[in-house]
C-alpha cells in the first residue's frame, strides 16, 4: 500500500498538464452529436491528441498507443478533465472496439482498423440495440447472410451512439434462422455503404444523441467479421464488460463536477436551503469514493487480477451519484433551476438530464443488480 505518486508519476502528471495547457482549445467545441461541424471539430481534436501521442494512451505502442498503465491512465484522465478538454468523439474506439479488436482480431484486421481508429481518421459508432433487443440483447434480429466472401446485412439498429456522423459501425448480426445466443457474429460496416440509412434520434434535452440505422442488403467482406462465425455473443459479452467497467467512466469527471457543485454552494448558500449542505458534502464523498474504488481496482489489475462482476457495482454507483449530484445542484438553484444557463455558465440542467440516462444505458441498473446478485453473491437465476 503506497497512496502517493512516485516521482515518475508526478513528472508524468506535469508533462500531461503542460501539453494540455498548450493545446486545449480556448473555447468549448460544439457537441459532436449536435452537428457535422461539431463532429469534425472533435475529429480534428483527436488528430491533435494523436500528434502529441495522447490519443490512445492505454493502447499498446504497437497499435498506435502510448502503453500507459492504469495509474498513468488515471493521472492522464485527471489532468484531461481538470483542463476541461473536449469530450472524446472516439470513445467507442478507445474503450470498446479497440480493446476488443486487440483481443479477438486477426493481425490483418488490427493492421487495417487500429491505426485509423487511433488517429481519428475513422470514427466508430456502436450498433448493439434493436427495437426489440435492449436489455435482452440476445433478441437481436438483424441478419448477416453469407454469400461467398461477403456478408449481406439486413436489419434495424437503434440507440447507436455517434452513428449520426461516424464513419464505421460495429454490431451484432445473426445467421438467418438462428436463435438467441447462437449464430451471432460481430461485424463491421461502413456507415456510408450502399443500403445504409441513418436517422438521428433526439434525446430528451432536444439534442441529437443517437441514431437508428437501417440496413438493406448491405454488402461487406467476410474480413469485417471479428472472431469466428457465430462467436458474436461471446465477444460482445467481453466488450460489454469493458463498457460497464473500469474504463468508460473515469472518476475525474465526477470529481470535477463535485468541485463545481461545492463552488455553486459557496456562491449561493446564503439564499439556498441550509439542509442542502449535507448533500453537497455527500456528492464530494461519493466522487472521492468512486475515485478510490477505481484506484484500488487499477492497482489490483496491475497486480494481475481480472475484473469481474464488481464492474456492475461501479455502474450502479456512478449512475446514482451522478443523479444525486445534479439534483442537488438544481435544488441549490431553486427558482432558477428550470432556466438554461447564461452563455459560458455551467449547464446543470443538461448535466441532470444526461445523468438520467445513466441508470438506463450500458446495461440498465436492473440488469446490473441481477448480475451482482447472481454472479457476485451467488443467488439463483
Amino acid at each position: 500500500m503506497q497512496l502517493s505518486y512516485t516521482p515518475e508519476q508526478q513528472a508524468f502528471r506535469a508533462e500531461v498538464r503542460a501539453w494540455l495547457e498548450a493545446h486545449v482549445p480556448a473555447h468549448p467545441l460544439e457537441h459532436y452529436d449536435a452537428t457535422r461541424a461539431g463532429f469534425e471539430a472533435h475529429r480534428a481534436w483527436e488528430a491533435t491528441l494523436k500528434s502529441g501521442d495522447w490519443g490512445m494512451v492505454t493502447w499498446p505502442k504497437e497499435y498506435g498507443g502510448r502503453g500507459l498503465d492504469l495509474i498513468q491512465w488515471l493521472i492522464f484522465e485527471e489532468e484531461y478533465y481538470r483542463a476541461g478538454a473536449p469530450g472524446r468523439v472516439n470513445q467507442n474506439g478507445i474503450f470498446l472496439l479497440g480493446p476488443t479488436l486487440m483481443e479477438f482480431g486477426s493481425d490483418d484486421q488490427k493492421a487495417r482498423f487500429l491505426p485509423p481508429m487511433a488517429s481519428g481518421e475513422e470514427i466508430w459508432a456502436q450498433a448493439w440495440s434493436e427495437p426489440q433487443a435492449g436489455s435482452d440483447l440476445a433478441g437481436v434480429r438483424a441478419t448477416a447472410r453469407r454469400d461467398g466472401d461477403e456478408y449481406v446485412l439486413n436489419g434495424h439498429k437503434i440507440w447507436s451512439s455517434r452513428a449520426a456522423f461516424a464513419d464505421w459501425a460495429f454490431g451484432l448480426f445473426r445467421e438467418p434462422g438462428s436463435e438467441r445466443h447462437k449464430g451471432m457474429s460481430l461485424i463491421f460496416f461502413p456507415l456510408d455503404a450502399p443500403g445504409v440509412t441513418r436517422n438521428p434520434i433526439r434525446k430528451i434535452n432536444g439534442h441529437v444523441g443517437f441514431a437508428e440505422i437501417f440496413l438493406d442488403d448491405v454488402r461487406v467482406p467476410a474480413f469485417n467479421r471479428l472472431g469466428d462465425e457465430g462467436e458474436g455473443w461471446h465477444i460482445c459479452m467481453a466488450t460489454a464488460g469493458f463498457e460497464r467497467g473500469l474504463m468508460l467512466r473515469s472518476p475525474a469527471r465526477y470529481q470535477v463536477a463535485a468541485a463545481a457543485l461545492a463552488d455553486l454552494w459557496q456562491a449561493r448558500k446564503d439564499r439556498a436551503d441550509p439542509a442542502l449542505e449535507a448533500d453537497v458534502v455527500r456528492a464530494f464523498m461519493n466522487a472521492e469514493a468512486y475515485a478510490l474504488n477505481i484506484y484500488q481496482t487499477a492497482s489490483r489489475l496491475i497486480a494481475g487480477a481480472k475484473i469481474g462482476p464488481e464492474a456492475s457495482t461501479n455502474k450502479i454507483f456512478w449512475s446514482e451519484m451522478d443523479i444525486h449530484l445534479n439534483q442537488t445542484a438544481l435544488a441549490i438553484l431553486g427558482p432558477e433551476a428550470e432556466l438554461l444557463p447564461e452563455p459560458g455558465g455551467h449547464d446543470w440542467l443538461d448535466d441532470f438530464i444526461f445523468s438520467l440516462a445513466g441508470p438506463i444505458y450500458a446495461g440498465s441498473n436492473e440488469i446490473q443488480r441481477n448480475i451482482i446478485a447472481e454472479r457476485m453473491l451467488g443467488l439463483p437465476r
Partner: protein
C-alpha cells in the same frame, strides 16, 4: 366531516379532463413543439367557452363563484396533459387578484383575457408573451402593466411548452392597484402547482404502465418483472399519499391561517416530489425510449421541475410547515384544528 368530492365537482373535472384529453394529445404536443409555440388559441377559446376562466371569480364580477377545490381538480386535469396554456396562472391566481383589487376593471369583464403574474419570489414571468396584462409585485403592491409598457426578454427554459420572460417595467408608468394579498396568491399558486403535479405524476405512471404491458424482453412483458413493478408501485404510493393532502389544502385555503398554510406547503412539497419520482420511474421503465424526445415522458419531468421552483422554494415551504409544527399544538386531535 366529509372528505369526498360532490358529484358536481367530479363532473366538472371530468368535463375538463375530456376537453384537455381530446385536444392536448401527444400528436398535438409534437405539432406545437415543431411549430415552436406554447399557446394554442383554439384550445384557449374552448377553455374560455367552458367557463374554466370564470371559475374562481365572484358572481358579482360575472364569475362562477366556485372554490379553489373546484379549480384544483381542473388543474389536476391540466397536469395530466401537461397543458401549455396559462389557465392556472391567469384564471387561478392572477384574475382573482385583479378582481379583488379592481372589480370593475375592463380586463375582469373579459373571460378570455390572459393575465400574467409576477411575484417577487419568481425571477421570471411565465406566459408574459401571450398576456393581456401582467400583475407585478413591488413593495407589497400590485401594479398592472400592459404589453406596451414592458420589455420582455425571453429566458430559455427546459420545458418546451412553457415560455418564461425577464420583464423590464417602470412602476411610474404602471397602474398601482394598491396593497395586494400576495400570500393568498402564493397559497393558490402552491395548491394549483400541487394539483398539476398530481396529474403529471399519474400520467407518468400511466404511460409507463402502458409501455410495460406491451414491451417484451426475455420473452415476457417487462411489466411482469418485479423490478419494474416495484418502481411503479412506489411511485403510485407517493401519489396516493399526496392526493388527499392536495385536496384538503385546496378545501382549506380559505381558512387563511397557519394551519391551512402549512397544509398548502405540505401539498406543494409532496405532490411535486411525487411528480419527480413518477417521471423518473417512468423514464427508467421506458429504458432508452424514455430518454428519447419522441416519447413524451420528458414533458412531465420538465413541468414537474418547473413547478418545484416557482412560487416559493422547497425550503420556503418546508419552513412554513415547520413553523406550524413548532409553534402550534400537534397531535391526533389537531388534524383539522383551526387557529383559535
Amino acid at each position: 366531516m366529509d372528505f369526498t368530492l360532490s358529484d358536481e365537482q367530479v363532473m366538472f373535472a371530468q368535463t375538463a379532463a375530456t376537453l384537455f384529453g381530446d385536444t392536448c394529445t401527444p400528436d398535438h404536443w409534437h405539432r406545437m413543439m415543431e411549430q415552436d409555440t406554447a399557446f394554442d388559441a383554439g384550445r384557449w377559446a374552448q377553455i374560455v367557452e367552458n367557463g374554466f376562466t370564470l371559475l374562481l371569480l365572484p358572481e358579482s364580477a360575472g364569475g362562477l363563484g366556485l372554490t379553489e377545490l373546484d379549480f384544483a381538480l381542473i388543474a389536476q386535469a391540466a397536469g395530466y396533459v401537461a397543458l401549455p396554456e396559462p389557465l392556472v396562472e391567469s384564471a387561478g391566481i392572477a384574475a382573482p387578484m385583479l378582481a379583488a383589487l379592481a372589480p370593475d376593471h375592463a380586463l375582469s369583464a373579459d373571460p378570455a383575457a390572459i393575465i400574467a403574474i409576477a411575484p417577487a419570489c419568481n425571477p421570471v414571468v411565465a406566459h408574459a408573451d401571450v398576456a393581456d396584462a401582467i400583475l407585478m409585485e413591488q413593495d407589497g403592491h400590485a401594479f398592472l402593466v400592459l404589453p406596451d409598457q414592458v420589455t420582455l426578454m425571453p429566458a430559455a427554459t427546459i420545458d418546451p411548452l412553457r415560455r418564461l420572460f425577464r420583464v423590464t417595467w417602470d412602476p411610474a408608468r404602471a397602474e398601482d392597484l394598491g396593497p395586494a394579498d400576495w400570500t393568498l396568491a402564493l397559497d393558490r399558486a402552491a395548491v394549483f402547482a400541487a394539483a398539476q403535479a398530481l396529474g403529471l405524476a399519474q400520467r407518468a405512471v400511466d404511460l409507463a404502465v402502458a409501455y410495460a404491458k406491451d414491451r417484451q424482453q426475455f420473452g415476457k412483458p417487462i411489466g411482469s418483472y418485479q423490478a419494474v413493478k416495484h418502481h411503479l408501485a412506489s411511485a403510485q404510493v407517493a401519489i396516493e399519499f399526496a392526493r388527499p393532502v392536495v385536496i384538503a389544502a385546496a378545501a382549506q385555503i380559505g381558512q387563511r391561517d397557519i394551519f391551512a398554510q402549512a397544509r398548502i406547503s405540505h401539498a406543494r412539497l409532496v405532490a411535486t416530489e411525487a411528480a419527480d419520482k413518477a417521471a423518473r420511474a417512468s423514464i427508467q421503465v421506458h429504458g432508452a425510449m424514455g430518454y428519447s424526445w419522441e416519447v413524451d415522458v420528458h414533458l412531465f419531468l420538465k413541468r414537474a421541475l418547473a413547478l418545484s421552483g416557482s412560487w416559493g422554494t422547497s425550503a420556503f415551504h418546508r419552513a412554513r410547515v415547520g413553523t406550524r409544527l413548532f409553534t402550534r399544538p400537534t397531535g391526533p386531535d389537531q388534524t383539522f384544528a383551526r387557529e383559535a
